[in-house]
Symmetry: C2
Amino acid sequence: LTTPAYDALAAAHLQQHRFEHVLNMLHWDQAVNMPAAGSEARAAALTELEAHLHRLRTDPPRSSQLSAALTEPLDDEQAANLREMRRIRQLATALPEALVARRSLASSRCEHAWRTQRPANDWAGFLPNFEEVLEIAREEAQRLADIGGVSPYDAMLDLYEPGMRTADVRQVFEPLRAWLPGLIREVVERQSQEPTIAPRGPFPVSAQRRLCERVMALLGFDFSAGRLDVSTHPFTGGSPEDVRLTTRFDEDDFLSSLMGTVHEAGHGRYEQNLPRHWLGQPVAAARSMAIHESQSLAFEMQLGGHPGFAARLAPLLAEAFGPQEAFEPGNLHRLMTRVRPSLIRVEADEVTYPAHVILRFEIERALIEGEAKAADVPELWNLGMRDLLGLDTRGNYRDGPMQDVHWPSGLFGYFPCYSLGAMYAAQWFAALRHAQPDLDEKLAKGDFSTVFQWMDDKIWSQGSRWTTRELALRASGEVLNPAHFEAHLRQRYLPALR
Amino acid sequence: LTTPAYDALAAAHLQQHRFEHVLNMLHWDQAVNMPAAGSEARAAALTELEAHLHRLRTDPPRSSQLSAALTEPLDDEQAANLREMRRIRQLATALPEALVARRSLASSRCEHAWRTQRPANDWAGFLPNFEEVLEIAREEAQRLADIGGVSPYDAMLDLYEPGMRTADVRQVFEPLRAWLPGLIREVVERQSQEPTIAPRGPFPVSAQRRLCERVMALLGFDFSAGRLDVSTHPFTGGSPEDVRLTTRFDEDDFLSSLMGTVHEAGHGRYEQNLPRHWLGQPVAAARSMAIHESQSLAFEMQLGGHPGFAARLAPLLAEAFGPQEAFEPGNLHRLMTRVRPSLIRVEADEVTYPAHVILRFEIERALIEGEAKAADVPELWNLGMRDLLGLDTRGNYRDGPMQDVHWPSGLFGYFPCYSLGAMYAAQWFAALRHAQPDLDEKLAKGDFSTVFQWMDDKIWSQGSRWTTRELALRASGEVLNPAHFEAHLRQRYLPALR
């Protein structure tokens, strides 16, 4: 049995994977190392690389190979790989190379300027760059919409979570929007009666860094195939063979960098444990961004918010910073599950977090669908923050619509993945608890291996073998079911008083 | 007047420059950041990139464009640019893409293994990898020799110093080999009567790093367009717009990392001050590696070994490490000009340094010309070190033939550039002293601006506008004249006793 068309496609995807390695490393370097004056040269180099990758993805012979491979005797994994190859091809051919190059240049420039405009609260300086990025994103969305037969924002959602539509997101977010503000008030009220002892800083950066690396090791991160560095906006970059996590340090607050690192470690372990025998093929890539966020949030929220994690952490904190009353496990757990409406998404607790995501989903949908302009964003932001979290953000662009790197980088359609990920994470833990009734006892003893084993079996090792829907079904016996998320929040934050 | 062929070539070279930026950054990352397990993926990505650059450089339409451009109305700078374009094309087309890919893979693998084999003194483990790298280098040399009508080693020399031949190097090195051992003995004898006070360590890495960055700033390095990091083998990487220097720290010895940094800062300022209006074109690149080393050695040896530099440094050392008797400027200068035969090239003083280079030149010439085998290297090394420096290196591969990154990376023909660079540096300072008779007074006051101004006017701003020969003539009124180097050594190390 020979599969010449499939083999040619597989060779081409391996080559693409190598150029993606290059692109990912340069993006990481841009955020972590690059001095300011290197920006223009980097933007030009990245644009050249993106254009080259686009040419590889749209190379004309692929078209007939993709058709021919459909009739070749492929096994199930090869067939799954071919499905992903077809998707990559379809998305790539929807965009002309000139648009890809314009997008790369505009987003590099906008993001670079944003790095100084954000601390300066300079919305007026940011707006023209942002308008250009948005205009390009709208054109991209329209072209993808045309070939996909969906609306422009649906087409953008589909880039990050294949198959997910605006209607699906609304079906999940609308009930959430209804019960979340009430739940937040109830939890805040309940917690106001629980005293906590605040840790006393400063917490030296070098000690925080060592602590983060210890916790990453505890979470199974492989340092022979990855690193931890510092960037303005924490992220997971690199390639599966060399995973680059970032965090940022604040000498007054170690929990923020630590829990950010735990979040990225979830992404990192997913990448490090993708199936190696298919490395370089689309079927070996992470399933989708909602599934990716289900890993980061399984680590940060499900595991990180568990009393067993606080107990395991307590002695490490005493070693890192010297003993403090605040590090007592019960107090530490209360600190780590503190709910408080706040301005900054990445520092939000898991109860208020969905409010930040709903706000961004509503605004970016309107922007991409042409129902709102870039200049409208601050007002929409302020209205949304008032309704959802009762906060006033007027004039505070820095901690308002300029806080995230996504829009300046041209990423529209990504935000819903965070809350879908939180929901999947709750669903994974519900399934895991069902399969392993002693899970909480193990976690209480600081033994997290059951979690890692389950994630590896059900998620990491599966790569893109299945659609998200199939993956969820195989892992947990059901497709996305947001009831687990609500149950998790009520169980953790509003347990029946004993 | 239109120059369509030239314009097409210029656009193509700008594109190549962007891919070179990418390649340089990935090489830097490989040496500075990459975790061990990332090695294979990186080697594959670099090989893919090198093959792509090779395809760009050998793109068939260039051939007729290069001929057509010769008849176009070019100005002098365009004509110089075209000369460099023709050279790049000729070197690229001499090698088939498969050889470029094999070379990239073999050198990545050999260098990666060498990083652990060197500390383990594992010559036997290193040899098979090295044999493969050498075999590929010989094939490369033979192919370049065939098109250039020169010998294989001549062809390799020409890669780094265009126009330089083995006979030219011998003409310079043979007299040096004759007078150097005697001079070394005389200087060591003279210095044995000069007491020095040794600095007392340890010198914390963080303080050393701050000191290095202060000294780089003092030397005019632009930190908005570059960085200092740590790697096993110090080097200058990156691109002219974003220059990445590296050093390595030893808590017992701050002078080694500091003077290594001063060396790299010379390379760095050359790169940062190449002509910007031609950026991305071959005419804007550094002239050659001997000229590059003339900058690093002008900084490290000519300037760094000057009493005025020691005097400027003394208060910075006291600030970095606390006051010590050893930091008294006279003592510091004696420490910084200490001559002592030693095993390690990169730590050698400027008097014994040429012995290290002569040794490598003789061995690598024999290797490339097929007069010696890879397995012969330790014996040749030992004989050479005994004759040149009176040192026994038997069984010590680590501090013998395995000490440098060059051969494991497939770089043969580079080493002579260090000593040619030292000679040019002496020649530049002789010309500068002639033009500015108060130079030493200025340096004594810690004012180095005259040096930077001269280098910028004569070398940095000239890029590849002239051949090395023309550049030397324009800068100093004569072509390479090794008498300046000998005079410099005798004047600094054996002055008439007062």
